[in-house]
């Protein structure tokens, strides 16, 4: 098992390295520059800006510098100038050494070019990732809470009106994207009924209420996928010999379904849940835009339109990290779901 873990972590680092090189080189290869404005800057001004952001160096040097800023920790004495670097580094630990203290700083993902340095990628993570993670978890909960029961019921009542209705709901979920469902939900439950806040920071609602409509809009379409997967896999499991064995042992039907059938039928569901979770946790452009949610998702789009290289790198590396970690967690979950799967 430990050998397996080491191998998976090594693979993970390799994948992240390859992804980082591709994105780093790729964004610099697409036309347009971060300093291309509708009202063009003086060539001299652009040169100074490129110099300031190290964009005049050869691209492999830029890459090494960038990676160095992230990976190599720094020690700084705690005089006044240095305290304003808080936002630059993700990890800032004050060590009780020296008169003003010594700062251990690690992981600098660089400045955002938009607004010319007033924001850093770390500040963007710090401000927006928590919201996106909360919304992502809420959405996945909605997706699972709707999808899994729907799939199980459909499988148990196969080819009956129950099955058809459940799958009808699933097909509706797949065909109506969040960009349609979101505004409808907001208008009906927000504007007309007034049950939920229409905008993110609307007064008079408890904090969690703001997540309900976006999470429903986002979770509903994913629930359809989960429902269909659960149904298919459940049908397969129900035909297995061990189901007859379980029944032959005289187990109650509810236990047969909930423990023996469901646990095994969840394996393909968990497989898709990993990447889904990674995408939902890092935010969703469409839903964040519709509901005006200050999340990370919009940065996946706006960073490209602004050619904001460090932000592009930051958000996509974060997504890549979430995906590889989620996949690894999924692999370990298999072992728990199906005792026949063992890693060595």
């Amino acid at each position: 098992m430990s050998k397996f873990v080491v191998r998976r972590v090594a693979q993970m680092i390799l994948v992240l390295f390859i992804v980082s090189v591709i994105i780093f080189m790729g964004v610099r290869a697409i036309p347009g520059s971060p300093f291309e404005r509708e009202k063009p800057l003086q060539p001299q001004v652009i040169e100074r800006l490129k110099e300031k952001y190290n964009l005049d160096a050869p691209v492999h040097i830029q890459y090494l510098d960038y990676m160095g800023d992230i990976l190599i920790p720094r020690l700084e004495s705690g005089d006044t100038a240095a305290t304003f670097a808080e936002g630059d580094y993700l990890i800032n630990i004050q060590l009780p050494i020296g008169e003003h203290g010594l700062y251990f700083r690690w992981m600098n993902f660089g400045p955002s070019y938009r607004g010319l340095g007033s924001r850093t990628v770390n500040e963007i993570f710090r401000d927006f990732l928590p919201t996106s993670i909360q919304l992502g978890l809420a959405s996945v909960s909605v997706a699972v809470a709707i999808g899994v029961p729907l799939g199980i019921i459909a499988a148990l009542r196969r080819n009956t009106i129950v099955d058809y209705s459940a799958m009808g709901v699933a097909i509706f979920g797949v065909s109506v994207p969040a960009i349609v469902l979101g505004p409808i939900l907001r208008y009906v439950f927000g504007v007309e009924l007034g049950w939920f806040p229409v905008v993110w920071s609307a007064e008079g609602f408890p904090y969690y209420a703001r997540f309900i409509l976006p999470a429903t809009a986002l979770g509903f379409s994913s629930s359809a996928l989960i429902a269909r997967l659960t149904r298919a896999s459940m049908l397969q499991v129900l035909d297995e010999d061990y189901m007859d064995t379980a029944r032959a042992k005289g187990l109650h039907e509810r236990r047969v379904i909930l423990v023996h059938a469901m646990r095994n039928s969840l394996i393909p569901v968990v497989t898709t849940l990993g990447p889904l979770l990674a995408f939902l946790l890092t935010g969703t452009f469409v839903v964040e835009t519709i509901f005006g949610i200050p999340g990370l998702g919009r940065y996946f789009v706006t960073s490209f339109t602004n050619r904001d290289y460090p932000v592009i790198m930051g958000v996509f590396m974060l997504l890549a990290l979430f995906i590889v970690v989620a996949n690894m967690v999924v692999d370990f979950t298999y072992a728990w779901l199906d005792p026949r799967i063992r890693y060595s």
């Binding site: 697409i30 036309p31 347009g32 520059s33 291309e36 404005r37 509708e38 009202k39 063009p40 800057l41 003086q42 060539p43 001299q44 001004v45 652009i46 040169e47 100074r48 800006l49 300031k52 304003f84 936002g87 400045p111 938009r114 607004g115 010319l116 007033s118 924001r119 500040e123 401000d127 927006f128 505004p183 907001r186 208008y187 927000g190 504007v191 007034g194 806040p197 229409v198 905008v199 993110w200 920071s201 609307a202 007064e203 008079g204 609602f205 408890p206 969690y208 209420a209 964040e288 835009t289 519709i290 509901f291 005006g292 200050p294 919009r298 706006t302 490209f304 339109t305 602004n306 050619r307």
Partner: protein
């Protein structure tokens, strides 16, 4: 199982209770607040006066800072700002600053706006030196200011410093005679130069704060200002709140604010409308076009709708160096064949005005549809076909299909695509010319247009300052970097160069009208499509001014019951 049920029942009860408590918690505290919106999604890019470029950034700067001069938001007249008076001698301007204007910041711990003091504890007031510091930051090439060029063009030595030719700010013609007297060497003296000296990138700035906080100086709590409002809170990507500055004494032109605070939420237009209808927003600054029919049919909402002035102009540029657009008759034919009224009525639907020329009427010295009804170009199918015949003859061909394929390019957007398709159809029907439409994402598109513009390309222009010069000279003079058409006309250059030196507005208007006629008709380097409008909604309990500039003045707003 029972326990699970009991637990979830408890949870539901708690949640319901919390919801009730939350609803009761929102009490009206008697403060006069306005909640409006910036077009989201996305943050306000920068509220640094040297760096701000877009409407949202500039809105914040102009409500927290006041320039040497201001422009009345309703009449567009030049008015005093922090300079109570000025005089001009030749091309040297002398500005006299009002004394005792206090620098302030919002103190989040005290929960109020506090005065900024200097190292000795004395009140820190706005001086001529602060203006000079502000200019030196804006013009410094290290700052990377987008708008430095507007200022640099009008101040002696400023372009040399901004382009890096001169190393020292000393070459720039601005001097403090004393703490409250400023002398500026302008490149020329004319009607609008004083308003340029009052623009956002020419604001006074507080050196000690900018230097102390570095890039963080524009965050709430640090942000120094002296105008009618101060920055109270900036929740990035979510909202920005300004609170009234009690230290702003007010004057005849920029009074003390009546309202206590203004909050902008950053929302896309459909969310703005929903929030407005739910009572979370007092103003919709961008009404979604597909809701226009519903709003105009609704007896209540239609009363709250206002279609007002906007300074922007929408146009198609022709690359006159590329075949077959090097043929002036073809360019005229294409421009004559665009039914602009139909586009405005059926495609854009926001009450836009079909444009006969480039510079928006209402700008100082720009021709108006009343003063110059026969200037420029408009939809005329017969003229279009006549010009097409001349164009075919000039190129020695008998059918438009013998020309090289023409490409019309726009930046990716549903709205631009709809307009392009409508025009494509008009050209096909009226002229038998089939153009192909292409689009590129914005940053790529800008690079394409600049390096080698497509045969026909879409762009717009919005005012930096409200004078025809900003349109006719800054954009289309042969030396302009915004002129991507490869078209240059000595006659045009002479007209706009003469116009800028005159002081009589009517004389200037006549010259700009002649210049426009060359630009859009005689040489037909561009085809103007429409002049934008600003479609807003406001709750009836808000009394406000509707700005003809690109910025609102919230100190003149009030909130009733």
């Amino acid at each position: 199982m029972n326990q699970v049920l009991r637990k979830s029942t408890l949870w539901i009860l708690t949640v319901t209770l919390l919801a009730l408590v939350g609803a009761v918690g929102a009490q009206d505290d008697g403060m006069k607040t306005v909640t409006t919106a910036f077009l989201g999604p996305g943050d306000v890019p920068s509220i640094d006066p040297s760096i701000g470029t877009d409407t949202s950034s500039i809105q914040i700067v102009l409500n927290t800072y006041i320039g040497l001069t201001t422009q009345n938001e309703v009449t567009a007249e030049l008015e005093p700002g922090i300079a109570h008076s000025w005089e001009v001698d030749g091309t040297t301007y002398t500005f006299h600053l009002t004394e005792g204007i206090q620098w302030v910041r919002y103190d989040p711990e005290a929960g109020e706006v506090v005065a900024i003091t200097d190292a000795d504890g004395n009140a820190r007031t706005v001086t001529a030196h602060d203006v000079i510091f502000g200019w030196s930051r804006t013009l410094d090439p290290e700052t990377g200011s987008d708008y430095a060029y507007v200022l640099a063009d009008w101040v002696v030595g400023a372009n040399e410093y901004n382009s890096g030719e001169a190393d020292s700010f000393d070459v720039v013609g601005i001097r403090a005679i004393d703490d409250h007297t400023l002398e500026i060497d302008a490149v020329a003296a004319n009607a609008f130069v004083p308003s340029i000296f009052g623009m956002w990138m020419a604001m006074p700035q507080l050196q000690e704060v900018v230097e102390m906080y570095g890039d963080e100086w524009t965050e709430a709590g640090n942000y120094p200002s002296f105008g009618p409002f101060a920055l109270k809170e900036w929740l990035h990507d979510e909202s920005i709140t300004l609170t009234a500055n009690p230290f702003w004494a007010g004057n005849e032109w920029i009074p003390q604010p009546v309202i206590d605070s203004v909050t902008w939420l950053m929302l896309p237009s459909t969310a703005q409308l929903d929030a407005y209808e739910a009572g979370d927003l007092d103003v919709v600054t961008s009404v979604p076009l597909d809701a226009m029919d519903r709003i105009q049919a609704d007896p209540v909402l239609s009363e709250e709708l206002n279609i007002g002035y906007d300074t922007c102009s929408y146009y198609y540029g022709f690359n006159t160096a590329k075949e077959p657009l090097d043929n002036v008759h073809l360019r005229r034919a294409l421009s004559f064949a665009i039914d602009r009224q139909s586009i405005v009525d059926n495609v854009t639907k926001g009450g836009q005005i079909p444009a006969q020329w480039f510079a928006r009427p209402g700008l100082a010295a720009a021709p108006t549809l009343e003063s110059h009804p026969d200037t420029g170009i408009w939809f005329d199918a017969e003229e279009a076909q006549a010009e097409l015949a001349l164009a075919l003859e000039a190129d020695g061909i008998s059918d438009p299909s013998e020309w090289e394929q023409i490409t019309l390019m726009h930046n990716t957007s549903e709205g631009h695509a709809k307009i392009a398709q409508a025009i494509q159809q008009m050209w096909s029907e009226t002229l038998g010319i089939n153009v192909e439409i292409a689009n590129q994402e914005w940053a790529t598109y800008l690079a394409t247009v600049r390096e080698d513009a497509p045969q026909i390309y879409r762009l717009g222009w919005c005012a930096d300052y409200l004078d025809a010069h900003n349109y006719n000279s800054d954009v289309w003079r042969s030396t302009s970097s915004f002129n991507n058409t490869n078209w240059a006309s000595e006659e045009y250059d002479n007209l706009v160069d003469t116009a800028v030196t005159l002081s009589d507005t009517e004389e200037r208007r006549e010259l700009y009208a002649q210049a426009e006629n060359i630009l859009v008709y005689h040489d037909a380097a561009i085809s103007p499509i429409y002049w934008y409008t600003n479609v807003q909604m406001t709750k009836p309990n808000i009394s406000r001014t509707f700005s003809v500039l690109f910025q609102d003045r919230y100190e003149k707003w009030d909130v009733g019951q």
